[in-house]
């Protein structure tokens, strides 16, 4: 009978346990790094979804605002409302009279206050001549002060003691509101952090991904179907195959250079638009889609092909009626993962000029636009403190989109798996 050394057995069992421990430790490490990343981003970014506003009583005197009847949208767009708003603020601090002091005082107001009042008047022209109470945004420094992101003392203090005292009075009087900020999700970029929104970048990314999908999905499937189902195995197809795999490994900035040289300079397409961005991203996504579609086609049981052929289906009918539908779930999963990669891609968009400051939300793929990752890059290198929370919040937005897309891919995969069983 075989005699096993108990010492060696113990050693083996111990090695087993030790190996499991290493695995658990690696998981804990990876998990905690991820938690750290997410919690840092969320803790510094969550406040960007809120904005600090001031309850201000405003005397709507048409003469001061430089407007006259009829109060149409066009005529109201011409008015200047800054003085009116300033007067509202002066009324709260009658003791502040000096010119220098008053100049310091009005720094509490954001330039957005003027836009807010104009919007209000266009919606309610009947209020002209009356005294109203309006919530107007405060400027970025005071917003950050209220959110606790700005130190009150030390060399990084950007506000004077008097300014902070005025603001504290406003807080004590209950005039400061902390509201949800829809402008951040819907609005476009701005020079003023308190007014900047991610909406323009989201729209730009959406248009670019749409162009990318419309180009790469049909092209990728056509290429995969031809290579897998129709092409003979020749030296040429093997070279093409190898190059598709190589293409998937090309650094993205090179695709950007290609877009710059070919699409912008040679074909003269409009610079910095989601159209060109989407075309460049399509080049990058194409290999991912081709590879995933080909492997799903290969995974379709040959019995299905033979069965359809034996029914008298032509090769094209076999492919499009039976094989491709069976390969669709895998192809879609690969496509979504490819698009998620494209969504996070920055370098090629920088190369084709999608890095400009755009203060409108783009309506079509032909309007100049920023994209989400480029917006993060732009805000991250801005000097103003107010953009720190915007950067983190933009990262939260792009991560949400990525998680959603990957979730859809996982759902498609698990659904079809249960079907096959």
């Amino acid at each position: 009978m075989l005699q096993l050394d108990p010492k060696k057995l113990r050693k083996r069992a111990w090695a087993e346990r030790r190996f499991r421990l290493y695995g658990i430790m690696a998981l804990i490490f990876a998990g905690s790094v991820l938690m750290l990343l997410v919690s840092t981003i969320v803790s510094s970014g969550h406040s960007a979804f809120f904005t600090t506003e001031l309850d201000l009583e405003i005397e709507l005197d048409p003469e001061t605002m430089g407007i006259s009847a009829p109060y149409t949208k066009d005529s109201l767009m011409q008015g200047s409302y800054y003085t009116t708003i300033k007067k509202g603020l002066y009324r709260l601090f009658p003791e502040v009279t000096g010119r220098g002091e008053r100049r310091e005082l009005v720094k509490i107001l954001s330039p957005g206050a003027e836009l807010e009042l104009r919007k209000y008047l266009i919606e309610n022209p009947g209020a002209i001549g009356k005294r109203i109470t309006l919530e107007v945004p405060v400027s970025s420094d005071f917003d950050q002060l209220y959110k606790g992101n700005l130190p009150r003392t030390g060399k990084h203090t950007r506000l004077s003691q008097a300014q902070m005292a005025w603001f504290d009075t406003l807080v004590a009087d209950g005039r400061i509101r902390y509201n949800f900020n829809p402008g951040f999700l819907l609005g476009a970029d701005s020079r003023y952090p308190e007014l900047a929104g991610i909406g323009g970048a989201v729209a730009g990314s959406f248009h670019a991904l749409l162009v990318c999908f419309l180009l790469s999905f049909p092209l990728g499937i056509a290429a995969a179907v031809y290579l897998e189902e129709f092409a003979r195995d020749t030296r040429l197809t093997r070279i093409i195959e190898a190059n598709i795999n190589n293409l998937a490994a090309v650094p993205s900035v090179i695709f950007g250079l290609l877009g710059l040289a070919v699409m912008l300079n040679f074909f003269g397409l409009p610079r910095g638009t989601p159209l060109v961005g989407g075309m460049v991203l399509a080049l990058m996504t194409l290999p991912t889609i081709i590879i995933s579609c080909r492997s799903s086609l290969r995974a379709v049981s040959p019995g299905i092909r033979q069965g359809a052929l034996a029914m008298g289906a032509s090769p094209i009918q076999v492919t499009f009626h039976q094989v491709l539908p069976a390969a669709m779930p895998g192809t879609l999963t690969g496509t979504i993962i490819g698009l998620a990669q494209a969504l996070g891609e920055t370098a090629p968009l920088l190369m084709i000029g999608m890095v400009a400051f755009i203060a409108n939300v783009p309506a079509t793929p032909l309007d100049s636009a920023a994209a989400l990752p480029v917006q993060i890059y732009l805000w991250a290198e801005s000097a103003e403190r107010g953009f720190v929370e915007k950067t983190a919040a933009a990262i939260m937005v792009i991560m949400t989109f990525l998680i959603l897309m990957n979730l859809i891919a996982v759902i498609i995969r698990s659904k079809t798996q249960t079907k096959v069983e």
Partner: protein
């Protein structure tokens, strides 16, 4: 030889076949449906089938038996030109159906395959509903103008395949949810939905349990009334039970062909005798 006698006793008891009766019917309806002459098949440099000459008679079951790799499946796949899609496969010689060469240049493979259906070793339903599986052939060949015609064809095909009663309440359920035997009968229903003249069966029962096998054999017995059936099988009992004629393949040669009774009771060639008595295979 005792084995063979016992086998025949069993089949007679099943009421499937009386050997003498089968021989008689074979002689009376001996109309040639398919006629293969000097068929050679090469896969690249491999010579897989040597000079096979075989007649297949109409409305009979012809069984092809032989050890693995003997070329019987290869021969079967020549009959509906499924070998065309195999890279590097070359077929020489002639195969005629009703006197017309099926390898002639003017023959449309798609039309040919709609006349010669095939059932495979492993049940291969399309990953769609039961209804869609059977409706696929009639749809692509334009056999049904209206939805009601299509439904009629599907129901009739399922009835002929003896599957209708089991699936009538779930025609739109996925076909992959059926049992192996049901899937194979679905594949038979799919094959006969376009009314082929010949049905090729490539080891249709090798993936099935004995009960499902018995059902398929009963079904073949019924289908023989309307279709010419050629079955490749590893089971000599199955060949003896269902077929009227049997061909024995060995190492790419068609060694012997004749009535099933003769092949199993009085084989001419020593190799046939050795195979059916279980000396090799």
């Amino acid at each position: 030889m005792n084995t063979v006698y016992r086998m025949n006793d069993a089949t007679t008891a099943n009421g499937l076949m009386d050997a003498n009766e089968a021989t008689a019917s074979a002689r009376s309806s001996a109309k040639t449906k398919l006629c293969a002459k000097n068929v050679n098949v090469y896969y690249g440099d491999t010579h897989a089938l040597h000079d096979v000459t075989l007649d297949v008679y109409s409305r009979q079951i012809t069984a092809l038996i032989g050890p693995s790799g003997c070329g019987k499946s290869t021969f079967l796949r020549c009959l509906n030109r499924m070998n065309d899609v195999v890279d590097g496969c070359r077929v020489t010689g002639s195969i005629e159906m009703d006197g017309k060469d099926i390898y002639a240049a003017n023959i449309d493979v798609v039309a040919l395959r709609s006349r010669i259906g095939m059932v495979f070793q492993k049940p291969n339903p399309f990953p769609k509903s039961i209804f869609e599986n059977v409706a696929y052939g009639p749809k692509i060949h334009g056999l049904a103008e209206h939805r009601t015609d299509l439904e009629e064809i599907v129901v009739n095909s399922l009835k002929k395949a003896g599957l209708f009663d089991e699936v009538k309440d779930r025609l739109h359920a996925p076909a992959t949810g059926l049992s192996g035997g049901q899937q194979q009968r679905l594949c038979i229903a799919r094959t006969i939905s376009i009314n082929p003249e010949v049905v090729l069966m490539d080891e249709p029962c090798s993936a099935l349990d004995p009960i499902a096998t018995a059902r398929i054999e009963d079904l073949m017995w019924e289908l023989k009334e309307n279709y010419t059936i050629i079955i490749v099988t590893h089971s000599m009992q199955q060949a003896a039970r269902v077929s009227q004629r049997t061909g024995f393949f060995h190492l790419g040669d068609l060694v012997e062909v004749g009535t099933t009774e003769k092949i199993f009771q009085n084989p001419r060639d020593k190799r046939t005798r050795d195979y059916i008595t279980g000396r090799f295979g």
